[in-house]
Every structure is written in C-alpha cells, then in structure tokens.
C-alpha cells in the first residue's frame, strides 16, 4: 500500500504533529495527521473531557463588566457521592492555571489531578465521606466559557471580545452550577491562591450557603507587587508577534514564546529563595563548565524553560490574560465600603485560614489581615501558619502539617454538621 508523507506548514504544525501520512486505499486517500497537545487543548475549550452544564441566553451570567454572558458553559468534575441530605458537598476552587481535574487524569497532559495528594479515598478531603465538586473558572480554557471558547455570535473564538472576568463572576457561575446540582448549601468551599480568593468571595456573597470555608495561601486583595508580576506576564504574551492582538487562533498562530516567558516569570514567584537554592543552586545542566553562550547552562534555566514550554501545551494565552486580570481586580473590602470585616459581618461560617511561612507571593501578613477582619466580625476562625521552605506552591505539595490541619478542621466541621463518617472498607 503506497503511503506518502508531507511536511506541514509552520502554522499547521502548532496543531498537528509534523507529518501528515497519506494512504491510498480503494481509490481514496486517507489522511492521518496526529493533533498536538496544543490542538487538543483548543478542542478542550469547547468540548471538554468533563461533565458540562450549559445555561442558555435566557439564564445568562451577570458579569461585573456590566454584560450578560449567555449562553454559558461550565465544565466540572465530581468525586464521591452526594448524601441524601445533600449536606456533604465540598466545592474546590482552583488557582490561576488549575482546572476541574483535581483528582482525575488531565485530558491533555495525561498527568494525575493537581490535588490528588489532598483529595481521594481516605485523603484529608475524603471522597468516601464527602462529595467533591470542582469546576473550571469562567475565563478559563478547560471547557468553561473563556476567550478560547467559540463565540456563538461569530463562530470564532471569543478572544478579547469576552468581557473581563472578575473573581465574583467566577463565584456567581459556580453558584449557578451548585443550583443546577440541586445543592442548597455547601459543606465547605476550599481553595488556594486564586482559589482562596474565590473562597473568600463565596463566604462574603453567599454566607448562608457556606458551612465551612478554607482560604489557603491567599489574600483579600492583590498587592501592588502581585499586580506587577502579573503585568510582566501579560506584557510577555502581548509582546509576542504571534499574539495578533488576541486573534491568534484565527491567524493559526500561537504566542507560545510569550506565554512561556510569562509562565517562567510567574513560576519563580511560586517558589521560595531557599527551595530554589537547595534544589538548583548554581549547578550546571549536563555540563561541567559554562559554554560561553546563552544556552541553558544552569539547571534552574533548564527547569524554567521546561516549565514554560510544557505550560503552553495546556493553557490558552488569552485565558492567562483574563485570569491574571481577575486576581488583580480582586479587593473584597472595596465592595464593602473599604472594611473587610463588613464583608463577613454576621457570618456563621467556620473559617480555617492557612498560610505558609516561606510564601512571599501571598505572605502570612495577607492571611493575618483576613484573620483580623474575621475576628472583628466575631466569626469562628482558626488560623495556622505552616512552617515549610517550599514557598507558595506548598499548598499543592505533600506537607503533613497542612494535611493534619485540613483533616482536623473538616472532621470537626463534619461532626458539627452531622455528616456520617466514611464507611470503613
């Protein structure tokens, strides 16, 4: 059987592996081309490997930008079983570049869920006991409406035509999902970093629907430094000529270089100085001496380049602009006359605030500001600063003290709510 190979044009190579194989069979050509991870991620935006709920234009998302967004698609995953009283549901809010695959294999990278250390049978967030829900945020790129989704009005990707998204918009959309699932009140809302902002917004916007809240490694507002780092990332994306003012999908390009640089810069902020030094120091990458070139001589350079290039395979560049912006705009106190305590006035929610002492992105002082406000609001609040050298990323890692805190807090809250213990297997 005769087969022919053709090399693809550079633009197409973003979406398909470099060879197209033509096979002639029964007087017809069959073309086999293998999509790249990037192409898969583009598909993921519209038709995700997830549960999906669609809200028609008659039930739009009322956005802070003053726009009604509809139709709206929300992609989500669930783990465990909702009990008959519907009292054991935990909503997990993901961070900047996270997604709904908290404890299931990522459909593009094939890697385990990003919080499998925390969530699963017998884990601190025990799926034998709790019903865990995780959805992709509005503005994301894993199946919930975002800039890479197809705009039904034009048939093209939204790109920058999507209104700017806020943390509150993300939470409103999650509330629509929770309504759709028929759950009146959540047992707990848990999240780190940008996920923690959503937790705080949930507690402020829907206090009666949140029994327990766990904001982790987060802040009630973005600091000037936080905004500055995000702006560097966005400028890196927008400086890439392949960004095409946000219309790169129409042009068949992907601003991979800009997005990779954005990820590299951001990744530094997720690690502590000590951890970087311990892990990489000044060690060379597969060589004994400098090459007197701009090669990745140092292991840290190689590591960051890997972080950058692997990120662009799974994440949409415009989506990165939207989610970073959402964090920058977040200032919970501002919605309540400048008083963070007013945001939590009269709350019955039980809070457990967690920070990590080597996290310089959302430092302990930011968590303490939340705790002070909750104290001033006479809320029930616990606060733990976990000692670790692993920086902001610690909330994603295996940190035993952090797990003990989470397990203890949830166990006690579950007792108070009358949730049955997990059946012993």
């Amino acid at each position: 059987m005769p087969a022919a190979r053709r090399r693809l044009t550079p633009a197409l190579r973003h979406f398909y592996k470099s060879d197209a194989v033509f096979v002639k069979a029964n007087k017809r050509f069959i073309v086999t081309i293998v999509p790249t991870q990037k192409a898969l991620s583009q598909l993921e935006a519209d038709a995700p490997h997830s549960l999906v709920v669609r809200f028609g234009a008659d039930r739009p998302l009322k956005m802070d930008a003053g726009v009604d967004l509809g139709p709206l698609q929300i992609a989500y995953q669930t783990y465990g079983t909702l009990n008959p009283a519907k009292s054991n549901a935990i909503l997990i809010c993901h961070a900047l570049t996270g997604d709904q695959h908290v404890a299931s294999t990522h459909p593009i990278t094939g890697k385990p869920g990003w919080w499998e250390v925390m969530i699963g049978p017998g884990k601190p967030i025990d799926t034998d006991r709790y019903f865990v829900i995780a959805s992709n945020v509005v503005g994301g790129c894993m199946g919930t409406t975002g800039p890479a989704s197809t705009n039904p009005a034009t048939g093209r990707a939204f790109g920058l035509d999507l209104p700017l998204v806020t943390i509150r918009d993300m939470v409103r959309a999650q509330a629509m999902l929770i309504d759709h699932l028929g759950i009146e009140s959540l047992f707990a809302v848990i999240g780190g970093s940008m996920g923690g902002m959503q937790v705080l917004q949930w507690a402020a916007s829907y206090p009666e629907r949140v029994f327990a809240a766990m904001p982790i490694a987060t802040a009630a507002k973005h600091s000037s430094q936080n905004i500055a780092f995000h702006e560097v990332g966005r400028q890196a994306v927008m400086a890439d000529p392949e960004w095409h003012n946000g219309r790169y999908l129409d042009a068949g390009d992907i601003p991979t270089k800009g997005l990779a640089v954005a990820r590299m810069a951001a990744h530094i902020t997720y690690l502590s100085q000590e951890a970087l030094q311990r892990k990489f120091g000044r060690k060379f990458q597969d060589r004994a001496a400098p090459t007197f070139s701009f090669d990745a001589d140092f292991q840290i350079e190689n590591y960051l380049r890997y972080q950058g290039t692997s990120f662009v395979d799974r994440f949409d560049a415009n989506s990165y602009l939207y989610v970073t912006r959402a964090c920058d705009y977040f200032d919970l106190a501002e919605d309540y006359g400048g008083s963070l305590a007013a945001a939590f006035k009269g709350t019955k929610t039980r809070f457990c605030v967690v920070s990590f002492d080597s996290d310089w992105l959302y430092p302990t002082s930011a968590s303490r500001a939340i705790v002070h406000a909750l104290n001033a609001a006479a809320a029930s609040v616990s606060f733990v600063e976990i000692n670790t050298d692993r920086g902001h990323d610690a909330f994603l890692l295996n940190v035993p003290e952090f797990f003990a805190t989470t397990r203890g807090f949830l166990d006690a809250a579950a007792r108070a709510r009358g949730i049955a213990p997990a059946a012993k297997g």
């Binding site: 006479a378 029930s380 616990s382 606060f383 600063e385 805190t405 397990r407 203890g408 006690a412 007792r415």
Partner: protein, 205 residues
Amino acid sequence: MLSQTARIDLLVVADMVAPKSRVLDVGCGDGTLLRLLAEERGVDARGIELSQSGVNDCVAKGLSVIQGDADTDLADYPDDAFDYVILSQTLQATRRPRAVLEHMLRIGRHAIVSFPNFGHWRIRAQIALAGRMPVTKSLSASWYETPNIHFCTIRDFIGLVDEIGAKTERSIALDHQGRPLRVGAPWWVLNLIGDQAVFELSRRN
C-alpha cells in the same frame, strides 16, 4: 472523662466561667481548657496559641484557634468581643504583662488570670538561703532557658490590678497540686503558702 484527667487548676478557672458565654483563651496550648468549657459549659470557645503543634491539636479538636502571640495579636480584637478572656499560666511569659492585661479587659468583660506565685516560701527560701534563682517542680527551667521572663508574686499582681484600675471579682490561691487553699488567711499569708493564684477581674467603671 475529660474533667477527670484535666489539671485541677484548669477546673478552678473553668468554674469561674458562666455557661453559654463567649470565651477567648490566650495561650490555649493543646486546647484542654477550651474543650472542657465547650463540652461541659456549652461555651463558644476561641483561642490563641503560639505553637503550630498546639494550634493543629486544637483545630483537630474542632476548636477555633488562631496561631498568634498574646503580646502582638490581642490588639486586633474589637472591644467587648468576649464575656471572658482567659490567660492561664502565661502572664509570666509575656513581654508586656500590663499591656496584655489591659487588652484582656478591653476585649472581654471579665479577665481570668492564673499565674505561678513567686512569693511562695520555698522560692523565697531558695533565693535567701541558697542564693540561686529558684527551680521548683512547677517552674523547672533554669534561669537562662526559662520562657518565663516576668515573674510576679500574688502581692505584685494585686498591685498591678490596682494600677490599671481593674476590680478583683474573685481570687483563689492554689497549692502545689492546683487545689484551692481553703483557709481564711489574709493575702500576705497566701502569698507565702500559695503555689499559684487565679484571679477573676473586671473593669471598674
């Protein structure tokens, strides 16, 4: 269960707390007293504890406890947030005992303070006869490693209460096992034979 194993001095403190009230325990350790109050008196129990392990123990018991420092973090609580603010065996370890006491009486309507009595005759004897800083069963650390930097006697404490204009509602001296001394003796006697003391204070309006 708990009340049988709890330290007797904690029971004395717990006895001063009205049921169903709001309580903040400053330096709550592993939460033994808070749990006692929550389970046996239906108290809304909150705590502050410096050590991470202590906070973790408390959170695991379902108590609302904040990792923090009595010297710096009491300032963040609003006025009249609690019915009782308790400082159990911690006053002598604070950097500014007077400020801590004043904050306690600002945050809570009542303050309950228990502390080791440095005026006990055994301690006086160690300084007077041996010429050395006292080391006793309940105060077992040497001078160079003790966290207790502001010791006082019962008489000193009464002086501080007067100075900050607070009112003593109740006061009890305890023996070395934490049992109340049931003798109708004047304070200068209790200052000699009391191993520790518990005071309930309120604001003088």
